[in-house]
């Protein structure tokens, strides 16, 4: 019998009586599970109060908290020297809620992080325009602003598991190329109006001031025109240099590489510009050798962050939690299986659940101590359901390298060790 059936967990608005029943029924087990983690044995063991450190200009993390990203050079090439790294992954297993601290937002750059003086930075808007413009940062900050909480996800997120599953990976390794921040800036629509962009223009080239001059063609669909913006703010402060200071593109729901950092040029044209990144790099090779191009949308996805790879659990009560997201809009449902995808039950979605942002899901589970596998499966407001690995690989093959959104399985052995598995 499935242990979880004894302790059903309803959605957020469930009757309080069933919630009470759950917690009372599992209290004995849960108490045992937590006892081992408490170090002070009595209240008398808690260190006495006293005068603390002086106030300061900015708050540091507690000395008892260690949070950092993992610089990586490619699939399987982790914890490399920072000079060899091409990205740096967010510690999803150690974060709570949905907002990523700005200094831990995942990082991907192609030619290092430029040191830009905002007083000297300028944005050129030209091409199929009636009124080409040069804007300073002061000009941009003077314009009406927009803010929105959004995920940005590298197209390479998940690439560790295309061909095989290294058992020792954490969720930071498997899914750490996504983060959610509040971004603030100026709407693309207002820039189109400002520059008098020709209605025959269908693609916009965005180009960075980094050494590589990373440039991507962005389609001027209604969705992009209505939702894209250029951002100078991140979680209430100016962008961090690693994330594009002083200015970057935000294209909600579409692949991270389009969110050009250190933005210095927008050029309007009537066809894609076919840069290296949209031809040779971020295209997905299919089993027949053809490649999908301009597969720009980040598909519906989810992952359990606790318990997850390399963690250790004890029999009994488990809080199972994770993150779900979709470039299509809101997450409407996340299901969790604790028996290797044989049966599923709905997890709760914690508020707020925002379109094109990460959503936090949670459920409770009582582990019986037998080896099993846990999996999550998200559904978005367009009805897209996160695929299982088998059907995903049948469609995309194992050479695509980018846009991996198959369900993530964590295997749990009899000793409670959690490890990365393909299915």
């Amino acid at each position: 019998m499935n242990e979880t059936e004894k302790f059903p967990t309803e959605a957020l608005n469930s009757k309080s009586s069933s919630r009470r029943k759950f917690f009372s029924a599992s209290a004995g087990i849960a108490g045992a599970a937590f006892a081992g983690r408490v170090h002070g044995q009595t209240l008398g063991d808690v260190p006495p109060r006293g005068l603390g450190d002086p106030l300061s200009g900015s708050s540091k993390r507690s000395a008892h908290v260690q949070l950092s990203r993992i610089p990586e050079a490619g699939p399987g090439r982790r914890n490399v020297d920072p000079s060899a790294a091409i990205n740096s992954k967010t510690p999803l297993d150690k974060l709570v809620g949905t907002i990523t601290p700005a200094d831990l937002h995942y990082e991907r750059s192609h030619s290092g992080i430029p040191n830009i003086d905002p007083a000297k930075h300028q944005l050129l808007i030209h091409g199929m325009t009636r009124n080409a413009r040069v804007l300073t940062m002061d000009d941009i900050r003077a314009m009406p602003s927009v803010s929105r909480i959004l995920f940005i996800e590298c197209t390479g997120n998940g690439w560790e598991n295309w061909k095989k599953a290294d058992a020792n990976l954490t969720v930071q390794n498997t899914h750490g190329l996504i983060s959610t921040n509040e971004w603030t800036g100026v709407s693309l629509a207002s820039l189109l109006d400002l520059a008098g962009v020709d209605r025959k223009s269908t693609w916009m080239l965005a180009e960075g001031s980094d050494g590589a001059g990373v440039a991507r063609s962005i389609p001027l669909t209604d969705e992009v025109i209505n939702e894209a913006f250029i951002a100078y703010g991140q979680n209430g402060e100016p962008l961090r240099p690693a994330h594009g200071f002083p200015l970057r593109v935000i294209v909600p729901g579409l692949e991270g590489n389009l969110h050009i950092k250190w933005l210095r040029r927008l050029k309007f044209g009537d066809q894609p510009f076919m840069t290296r990144w949209e031809t040779a790099r971020y295209t997905q090779v299919l089993p027949d050798g053809k490649a999908r191009q301009f597969q720009l949308r980040q598909e519906v996805n989810s992952v359990i962050t606790t318990p997850s790879g390399t963690m250790q659990i004890a029999p009994g009560y488990q809080r199972v939690t994770g993150l779900a997201w979709s470039g299509n809009g809101r997450i409407t449902r996340v299901e969790v299986s604790t028996d290797g995808a044989k049966s599923w039950k709905d997890a709760r979605l914690n508020m707020p659940v925002l379109p094109k942002a990460q959503a936090r899901f949670e459920t409770e589970w009582v582990w019986d101590g037998k080896p099993t596998k846990i999996v999550s499966r998200a559904t978005d407001e367009k009805g897209q359901v996160q695929p299982d690995r088998e059907s995903f690989i049948a469609r995309m093959g194992t050479n695509a390298l980018f846009h991996y959104n198959a369900q993530q399985t964590w295997s749990i052995d009899a000793g409670g060790r959690v490890s990365n598995a393909l299915a």
Partner: protein, 179 residues
């Protein structure tokens, strides 16, 4: 500031998120010379290619001096990508994606070298040197002959083997800018 305030009030009155009236109050017009300094992209039809020319022979020298340290003495790869070969591997278990086996447009190679290479000193090659090293890499892939010289007229005509190897996403095939 006054014109900005007026503009904002107009936008609020209209209930509009974006705005149009008086939008020219922001920024300034660039000169043609300024735009030319920054307008470095090159399209598959050759739009954006500058004057200049370079040969395979010249490119071999440019490559040895600027590229070989990362891409190998003959472009076979090293610290960074291999630049030739791999034809026929895209449908195999281990595709080898190079300029010759994967890149759909020769113009993209010019665009990329000009904007991003060499990695430690992007923008340091002149137009002639860029044409030359592009010719050399295309020659490594047997796509232009040993005696080839490339310029803005001839480069877009180099047909790449994987030109038709890409399936554009249907969602972005027919775009109407409705703004």
């Amino acid at each position: 500031m006054r014109s900005h305030n007026k503009l904002l009030m107009a936008a609020v009155a209209a209930g509009a998120v974006a705005f149009s009236a008086g939008a020219h109050d922001f920024g300034r017009a660039p000169t043609a010379a300024e735009i030319k300094l920054w307008d470095i992209d090159v399209r598959p039809d050759g739009a954006g290619l500058p004057e200049g020319r370079g040969s395979v022979t010249q490119g071999k020298v440019v490559f040895a001096n600027n590229c070989a340290a990362c891409h190998g003495a003959n472009g076979q790869g090293g610290l960074n990508d291999r630049l030739f070969g791999g034809q026929g591997t895209l449908a195999s278990a281990s595709p080898v994606k190079t300029v010759g086996s994967y890149w759909p447009y020769a113009t993209t190679l010019f665009d990329y070298v000009r904007r991003a290479m060499p990695h430690h000193a992007p923008g340091s090659l002149g137009h002639d040197e860029t044409y030359a090293v592009v010719a050399y890499i295309l020659n490594l892939n047997e796509l232009v002959p040993d005696n080839a010289t490339l310029d803005k007229a001839s480069l877009p005509k180099v047909l790449m083997p994987n030109r038709d190897g890409f399936i554009p996403e249907p969602e972005f095939q027919n775009i109407k800018n409705s703004r």
